[in-house]
Symmetry: D3
Subunit: 131 residues, 6 copies
């Protein structure tokens, strides 16, 4: 359970409801996810995060699925269970195949291993990277 009650549409403030309505419209869903219901206690934060999410995650120089893969990678490194679940679902909805998921996992695992080795060895940055 959350550290705040999840706010349903009925319980949310008019400002929060307006954001819920926008999420439902943009995503074509009947209800918003728990994340938004928890954020709804702070309509200002809810609005800010939703605006950012639309801006940041829209296709641009990187396609929408690649952005989801990056999101999963950060969320796994930060140990965020909810985020890993929601963005793995989002990546699948945007076309991530099982083979792509497997390769994503392999890269996340390898990066974590070498990050830890570098932190254990305190390897100095090569001059070549400092240009």
């Amino acid at each position: 359970m959350a550290t705040v009650p999840l706010l349903s549409y009925a319980d949310a403030s008019p400002e929060a409801r307006a954001v819920f309505d926008d999420i439902k419209r943009v995503r074509g869903v009947d209800d918003v996810n728990n994340f938004w219901k928890a954020l709804a206690h702070s309509p200002e934060l809810l609005q800010s995060v939703w605006s950012q999410a639309q801006q940041v995650m829209k296709p641009g120089a990187l396609d929408a699925m690649t952005k989801e893969l990056i999101y999963i990678a950060v969320s796994a490194a930060n140990g965020c269970e909810y985020c890993v679940h929601s963005h793995t679902a989002a990546a699948r909805a945007k076309g991530m195949t099982d083979a792509q998921h497997s390769e994503l996992l392999a890269v996340i695992g390898m990066a974590s291993q070498t990050n830890a080795l570098v932190n254990s060895l305190q390897v100095p940055v090569d001059e070549a990277f400092k240009k």
Copy 2:
């Protein structure tokens, strides 16, 4: 400086030199990076990491540049300076544009923000993600 002396080719064991030779050949470079020189104290670990790196980072269901973006994301989340530098350089060498770099940063920042919000709120995983 590192917690071990960086081993140059001259100082490395025959087993480590063989890996150095392979890295230089595969990557078409004159010398290996500091990471490999630090790992060379353990030729077995050096060989294992190098084999994995080739296997994991080769193009497959995900292209080589996308894999580097994921590597950067994990390394930033784990706070590994060396890894962020070396894989940002690698991503650029594999074609990452400035616009792609900017969008990568935006996604890493947004994911880190929402990871922290979720961890602060302890949002329960939606039933919809459990199917």
Copy 3:
């Protein structure tokens, strides 16, 4: 479940019981939280953590509620579910309002975002901060 059995008062050693008694007396509660029951396998560690907690968390140059906000921030960054729950409850008991909780979340989210951006960009420390 925990990696050790939670020790009830009945099962705890005399040394652990003495700490349990002190916690119940100081906090005016009928039973101690799970954290203390898990630590009770090591009465020395239990005593040390309890002594520190009283020393560190008492009002001083910072008031008790501000200390709880800082505790929540660290616990969220470290992804500790139990700690976020117990210190959010403690902060509320010490007067944290919903508006303060919302602002706490916004700062935790923003700090996490910029931490990740800085780690991705490896921004050098300004000379002005080095005085």
Copy 4:
């Protein structure tokens, strides 16, 4: 050094310069910090982070100095050297005393210790926290 060149005012785009001008005006400084010069490669991200920073860090239900203490706590937990430096300087500028800094450190240290103990013990959340 950073993974991107730091952009001076002279080198920045008109959009980035407009944000630089706003930062200088609001903060009453002659030049912006390295963080903003690194972000300036992405004027959109620069603008977004600056807007958020003003919104989130302004005094509200929590005062400006308390927000800086929370920022330091998150940054220390995430191991962000730059952020710890810049927000320690900001906290001092907003009135943090040496005694407050010492107590902040003690709470950060204690929280990190108990976070790690809880993660090692996997203590289940008490029923009392679930109401």
Copy 5:
């Protein structure tokens, strides 16, 4: 629940079954743990992790139990619930006593505390450590 279905022996591919058989044979168990069932979607990754695990965790210059203690320490620092559980069980199976477990916890707690203090203070590395 996992972000992928756990694959039982019946559902796994021939390549994954071969690794399952090897794990069961080497460990003398009737079934493999959930970790391997989740990894089985990628037989290549399953094989790679299993090979590494045998190579890395076998007794050498460090005995098998000490390696498990280190594994627990890393897993607690990274907040990996599953890993803390499985490697605490493994350490016990390899002879870890309750007294050793208590001392392990005390060191993990203390290290986490001083890590956070150092990150808050940004203590420069002593010259003596740079030799």
Copy 6:
């Protein structure tokens, strides 16, 4: 550089000097490390950390070198450069061989890899670990 000036013996308060004297006596050194000089701004915290360090790191059910290995592992996972340096030096002083260091690194790397895989897959804890 640190976020506080490092306090030399000459500049430290009498309370801090008493701890410095004790550290020098117990360790048989002419001067204390930077960590203690940074902590000396808070004599109470300095005393508390030094007392704990002696208590926690003394040989017991685990020998002194094994405790240093665990300390390095936590410090690497938390990305604490200073701590990795100081405890690698301490481990060597307590007899850590190059072969032991190499195996320590291999375990830290492997644990970090599987922690990340588990966090990506959100593997549920096996029933067998819940007894």
